[in-house]
């Protein structure tokens, strides 16, 4: 009977765990483990760019104006109340458009835009709906928009012509010679609203009212307001102001005659994130909170919180700490020259927790350094992860270096140094992790210069010592590489010491090609097994070379043009000779920057797998008819390489998958009495032995892909899932098995069935149920990073690069070690208590029955 009850309890638990088997999200789960940050998309605003209030509801902004050209192509409307995005439109008609103008006409609440493809468009300012559009003669350089006083006509002007359209329906009305005179607005540092005077203070970080009160704008250090816009001026002299800053911060302020109140703040720099890191921020403390924790009261509070969390029904914060779910996102914006910290969980998730402003001189580039270079146990991945929360930010121009060491979870600057003179430009920055104490930064970097010298950043004695230890970590020495994109040159070097120059070890020049993308393996990926067991019990040995890199190159246009001319001449000659009609035209592509050749089947895109120690090309594959937009995306995970590009001929996105192996051990090759004849030593410099066996397959996708990521878990045991950012604004995830290059083309053999392989099918469906972003649009994603948690089943994903950020926690192999969010703890408790009651009653009745039968 006891066994029976135990079975009943176990069954009840299993039934409660049934949601395990659900792969897709339920409606209720949407937004629980994921969030989206939607920005206006246009980045920092300029003094003459558009800023207007529509119907006292939303604030219309852009980086372009009626007489000032912008480059982002985005116009957006944020809610006046809370700053949430109401709508956003890419007003340019072509991917080639890099210039546009916009004009807001308030009488009829219409927005007009003209792009460099010479398309004039009219939009509804309330909802962003497209009302009408008209093409104009091209190459006129249309740069200026103007509406008449009643808003009935809109005129668009170039330097020599003016065209006038009916503003309501886009009908052409007239044209005349001459251009509109350009009246550039000067940035305002003070405004008047019916006698109410509001201005910026001298430091441009506070608003001063009529009565002289100063209201802080809450800007980070090194940021200041550069323009004041009066959005609305009420009869009672109360005004709504928009303050824009040089770092892309927009602040709404409501001012009356006596005071000013800050409404909301938006960080538009988040629309151009070029690098991101997910940092563990569990048990995060502000810098001055450490001492407070040692107080008796704090300890008592902490103990009480732990006790009370036992009875909590929902997922507690304690669990989030224990399971490693608490991460901070560090986001580096290239247009705002700033690093943003963002919580990914808790009540402040999706909010910017701190901003670190970086030097914003023109030509300055920034890199966030975190982790370590290749570990000595490099056979199972790079092992370059670190638990340190400190991040080194290196900003460099051609002759200057600045570094800034921050606590990546709080933004607190631990140490920094500016204006370090460089003898030549930087070609490589290598991370070095220093495990030490005190106030020294735990993250440092080796900075490799073009002239072959190496610098330490920070340049303290401790860091120099740590770099020396890193250089002598393995007996083979320390190697690095440099990529010259202009010359399409890949070079590798040996670094013997900080004091000596680099020693070249190899190089590869991609002649008549240009480098379009470079991908490295994930630094902290854990590889659970060095081999794969196949269906016939033999082993495939993974090629896990931590020095592997992928360089995607495209054929130079000049060469393509010459070949195209030759091809067309031949085709014309053949056509004349035979009198036959030429074949149907191929799909057309953009003229500039295209990787595509319109010569049929002429390779124009090359995927090169290179070794960053020897500088050799280990494997190279070519593709024809590839187009440059969207840019090919590449990801490396374990011994797999994934890449995508769009095909001009088939008009589809292609997904190439390469899996690399060292060799194979058959089913009887590794027993107690036999050993494998595989070499135990790997050297990148061994030209023959270092080459992998490569299996390759091409797949077709319905949508072009802009970025690829691969899920990463704590021990690398869970399935690996590809995360694909589609040009349609969706983030899909696909099981790696679906795109296995070992999928057989013919009928499946018994061993292949046993292994779970499926017959090859070119087309990979992108199923809406597998969309991580569900019905949200995540536009123009250019980067996807993943991070593990302390639970094997859970992986974190962050997509960035476009005007939207997306974060999610996902389960690549379902939540096998985690109770689902829908798990009903009260129901389980009731069930267990009920069963215990039944057990007591039954026991009592049975003993009574035995006693009675004994007396009978």
């Amino acid at each position: 009977m006891m066994i029976c009850f135990a079975m009943l309890i176990r069954s009840a638990i299993l039934v409660l765990l049934l949601p395990w088997h659900i792969q897709a999200l339920t409606y209720e789960e949407a937004g629980v483990l994921d969030f989206t940050v939607a920005t206006a998309g246009h980045g920092p605003m300029k003094p003459n760019s558009l800023a207007a209030l529509v119907k006292t509801e939303c604030v219309l902004t852009s980086d372009a104006g009626a007489e000032m050209q912008g480059s982002s192509c985005y116009v957006a409307c944020r809610s006046l109340q809370d700053g949430s995005l109401k709508w956003r439109r890419n007003v340019c008609s072509s991917i080639r458009d890099d210039r546009f103008n916009v004009l807001y006409e308030p009488i009829n609440e219409r927005l007009f835009s003209i792009d460099s493809s010479s398309i004039i468009r009219c939009w509804g300012a309330n909802d962003g709906s497209l009302l009408w559009e008209q093409p104009l003669p091209q190459d006129e350089g249309w740069t200026s928009l103007k509406a008449n006083n009643e808003g009935e006509a809109i005129q668009v002007a170039s330097k020599s012509k003016v065209h006038v359209f009916d503003a309501s329906n886009g009908d052409f009305l007239s044209q005349r010679a001459g251009g509109i005179s350009v009246n550039m607005r000067r940035p305002e540092l003070s405004l008047d609203c019916r006698g109410q005077h509001t201005s910026l203070d001298l430091s441009c970080t506070k608003i001063a009212t009529n009565q002289g009160d100063l209201v802080d704008l809450g800007l980070a250090p090194d940021d200041q307001a550069d323009d004041l816009r009066l959005l609305v001026c009420q009869d009672d002299s109360s005004a709504t102001l928009l303050v824009t800053t040089v770092r892309g911060v927009s602040v709404i302020a409501s001012c009356t005659t006596s005071s000013c109140k800050i409404g909301w703040t938006a960080h538009e720099g988040l629309s151009s994130v070029s690098q991101a890191i997910l940092l563990d921020s569990s048990h995060k403390l502000k810098h001055n909170q450490v001492n407070n924790l040692l107080h008796f009261k704090s300890r008592l509070t902490s103990q009480w919180n732990r006790i009370s969390s036992f009875s909590a029904l929902a997922e507690t914060e304690t669990n989030n700490h224990l399971f490693g779910f608490i991460k901070s996102a560090l986001l580096l914006s290239s247009t705002s020259h700033a690093v943003y910290g963002m919580d990914t969980i808790g009540e402040h998730r999706a909010q910017v927790s701190f901003v670190v402003n970086l030097p914003n001189d023109s030509g300055t580039k920034h890199v966030m350094v975190h982790g370590a270079a290749n570990g000595p146990r490099g056979t199972h991945g790079i092992q370059g992860g670190t638990l340190s929360k400190q991040v080194l930010i290196v900003s460099h121009s051609a002759d200057q270096l600045h570094w800034n060491c921050i606590d990546g979870t709080t933004g607190y600057t631990l140490s920094s140094k500016a204006n370090v003179h460089l003898s030549s430009p930087i070609v490589q920055i290598l991370p070095v992790s220093t495990s030490s104490s005190s106030d020294e930064c735990q993250q440092s970097a080796m900075v490799v210069l073009k002239d072959g010298s190496v610098l330490a950043a920070p340049d303290s004695e401790q860091v120099v010592k740590a770099i020396g230890a890193t250089l002598s970590l393995t007996q083979n020495g320390f190697y690095t590489h440099a990529i010259d994109r202009e010359k399409a040159l890949f070079e590798t070097f040996w670094i013997s010491s900080l004091d000596s120059k680099l020693i070249p070890t190899g190089s590869t020049s991609f002649i008549n090609e240009r480098i379009v993308h470079v991908a490295h393996p994930m630094r902290d990926e854990v590889i659970s097994s060095p081999s794969v067991a196949v269906g016939d019990d033999s082993l495939l040995l993974k090629y896990i070379n931590p020095h592997l890199m992928v360089i995607v190159t495209a054929r130079n246009d000049s060469m393509t043009t010459n070949k195209l001319k030759a091809s067309l001449a031949l085709e014309a000659a053949a056509g004349e000779g035979s009198g036959k009609q030429s074949r149907k035209p191929l799909g057309v592509t953009v003229d500039d920057g295209s990787a595509a050749s319109t010569i049929p089947d002429e390779p124009n895109l090359y995927v090169n797998i290179v070794d960053s120690v020897s500088g050799r090309v280990l494997y190279r594959i070519s593709h024809a008819n590839a187009v440059a937009n969207p840019r090919p995306a590449v990801a490396i995970s374990e011994n797999w390489i994934y890449y995508t590009f769009s095909n001009a001929k088939t008009r589809r996105a292609e997904l190439g998958v390469l899996s690399l192996y060292e060799g194979m051990i058959d089913s009887k090759g590794l027993t107690a009495f036999t050993a494998s004849d595989q070499s135990q030593v790997f050297s990148s410099l061994d030209a023959r032995e270092s080459k992998p066996l490569v299996l390759a397959k091409m797949y077709s996708l319905a949508r072009p892909i802009t970025a690829i990521g691969v899920t990463m878990t704590h021990r690398g045991i869970s399935n690996h899932r590809l995360v694909l950012a589609g040009a349609d604004g969706q983030l899909y995830n696909i099981d790696r098995k679906t795109v296995d290059p070992r999928r057989p083309v013919g009928d499946l053999k018994e061993a292949e069935k046993k292994e779970g392989l499926v017959q090859y099918s070119e087309y990979i469906p992108m199923i809406s149920f597998l969309s991580l972003s569900y019905n949200q649009t995540i536009e123009n994603v250019t980067g996807i990073i993943t991070a593990p948690t302390d639970l094997e089943s859970q992986s974190l994903i962050l997509a960035f690069g476009g005007p939207d950020l997306f974060f999610s926690r996902t389960s690549p192999s379902r939540g096998f070690d985690l109770l689902p969010a829908s798990f009903s703890r009260p129901l389980l408790s009731i069930l267990v208590v009920g069963l215990l009651l039944v057990l007591v009653i039954v026991k009592h009745r049975v003993s009574r029955k035995i006693r009675l039968s004994g007396w009978a």
Partner: protein, 212 residues
């Protein structure tokens, strides 16, 4: 009146001119017109993002569902409608230099499907609503019964109830034999010993329970 007529004429001329534009490099450029609609012919009023050649050009549908691509060069072009709520066909249009105003178009209901011929100006139907979410599976008694563990448990409970009933109608000799078997099963060591004893042809030293 006369001014209106002139304006209308100029406007018409402008629109016609847009129908077969000449691009900057002198190559004739065409125009793709289209309209999104629901299956019941109602115009698709939502603002859908529409791309030409994987976002080389893009536009949005207007409130009547219509959309236009200007400056289309000779070649094969693909039109995709990106809507998060409804699925639309993919359209490919071929523009030949000699007939830029009459493109030939084909429709793929989904990528990889059979092609269907379609006309220009395009009429693109919302074919289906896109489902992203699975239905929430709440607690139900039926789900408990469907669980194999519960089925096994119910079978065991049933056997516990029915076995004594079956024993009641059993012949006393059979019952004694059955009890003997059960007693042996409760002592696996003894059962194994007996089994190997039998296999070795050893003496059977088990005590038989006399029949009552």
């Amino acid at each position: 009146m006369a001014t209106d007529t002139i304006k209308a004429f100029v406007s018409l001329f402008y629109i016609l001119m847009a129908g077969s534009l000449v691009s900057a490099n002198g190559v004739a450029a065409g125009v793709i017109h289209g309209r999104l609609q629901y299956p019941d012919k109602r115009p698709f009023m939502e603002s859908a993002h529409i791309s030409l050649n994987h976002d080389e050009q893009h536009t949005y549908s207007r409130s009547d569902g219509s959309f236009t691509f200007f400056n289309v060069k000779p070649g094969v072009h693909v039109v995709d409608v990106h809507d998060q709520l409804y699925h639309f066909s993919q359209i490919k249009c071929q523009f030949l230099e000699e007939s830029m105003d009459k493109p030939t178009c084909i429709e793929y209901i989904f990528p990889g499907s059979h092609k269907l011929e379609t006309t220009h100006p395009l009429v693109v139907n919302a074919l289906a609503s896109i489902e992203y979410f699975d239905a929430k599976r709440g607690f139900s008694i039926l789900s408990i019964i469907k669980n194999p563990m519960v089925l096994m448990m119910l079978f065991s409970v049933g056997m516990m109830y029915f076995m004594p009933k079956m024993m009641e109608g059993m012949d006393p000799e059979e019952k004694a034999k059955f009890k003997q078997q059960m007693a042996m099963q409760s002592d696996p060591q003894r059962m194994i010993k007996e089994f190997f004893g039998d296999a070795a042809g050893g003496k059977d030293d088990t005590k038989t329970i006399p029949n009552k």
